[in-house]
Amino acid sequence: MPMACPHCRADNATGLDFCQTCGKALPSAFLSTPSITTGTLFATTPVGRKLQGYELHSKAKQAAVILGVIAFLTLIGTFVDMSQLPPGASSTTRNVVMMIDFGILACFVGLSAWATKQPLPAAIVGLVLYLGIHILIGVLNPETIPKGIILKIFIVIALAKAIQAGSARQKLESMG
């Protein structure tokens, strides 16, 4: 049974996606009724996937904020470290402490900037670095482990969530 093109009224055989006369789209059975996607499922159309991709990207980009917060906390930590050094500490010790702290600070500032462009790798590197530093400090001085533990857990969870969003987006992109 022929199908009339809604654009030019020309008759077309059924099953065609586009009119053979004017080249415009013909009504098709695909998504002829609205389709709902919930939970962890991916969208079925490129438009839906684009929308999910943008949302996941902005979610992953929150890593930039978290890494910025870590950089800010490192800056505060630098002043605290400097003030807690014994009065008789040599200038070499002071310089070493300052260099380590400012090195870490620079790393997190750089990672935060990177996360605005490529949130997934930046968040992974940031999480590894953050955990590595805290594990090292914890091994060297176990008394520091409980200090600010809630904030530490919050940062780790936030970075993990950003990584989760980033990897979901990558999966979405690989679907085309």
């Binding site: 609205p34 709902i36 499922l41 969208a43 999910q52 943008y54």
Partner: protein
């Protein structure tokens, strides 16, 4: 939660996008992405708009308060659209592992998204913006009314629980105060 839909429009790309843009911005949406001014010669065939009514998750009383994102693409007279309904800030993107608050809330969200899809078909496909707006408004009113009814239904139970908790606290205080140890 995400809705996807596809329908036919006899409008050309630029007219379809302009109509959709006017309709959606008229409802308070802000244009997020649009190739209206693209220099690649491809023409205006895509539009993405966003509406953020409430900022915090705790302040979201009904599905109507959720953040909404709508994207439309025109391809040779076919409009492919998708609309997202999100819990701020950025959770439940349709890929979230976190479920919606409850079944009723999810049903409201579903009803609203389906209404958005139908409204966009009426606006861009049928060129009947008034009917599209009416469809959308009706769904929003229904969702709001259902939520209000649910809140009213739960009110006596909440009051009862609060009174019970207050009595329990008073009894506990009296019990502690009259305890021989004190």
């Amino acid at each position: 939660m995400l809705v996807e839909y596809s329908f036919i429009t006899t409008l050309e790309a630029i007219d379809a996008m302009r109509l959709a843009s006017e309709f959606l911005t008229g409802r308070g949406f802000l244009v997020e992405r649009s190739n209206a001014f693209a220099l690649d010669g491809g023409g205006w065939n895509a539009l993405e708009v966003r509406l953020e009514k409430r900022k915090g998750k705790a302040r979201t009383k009904t599905a109507v308060d959720l953040k909404q994102v709508v994207r439309l693409e025109w391809d040779r007279g076919r409009i492919s659209m998708a609309a997202l309904s999100l819990l701020a800030p950025g959770i439940n993107t349709g890929l979230s592992t976190r479920p919606s608050r409850d079944k009723t809330f999810e049903a409201d969200q579903r009803q609203l998204l389906l209404a958005i899809a139908r409204a966009m078909e009426l606006v861009v496909g049928g060129q009947r913006p008034d009917q599209g707006a009416a469809e959308w408004d009706r769904a929003e009113q229904e969702v709001t009314a259902q939520a209000a009814t649910k809140r009213r239904r739960n009110q006596p139970l909440i009051i009862f629980v609060v009174i019970l908790a207050v009595i329990a606290i008073i009894v506990a205080i009296i019990g502690i105060a009259t305890s021989p140890r004190y």
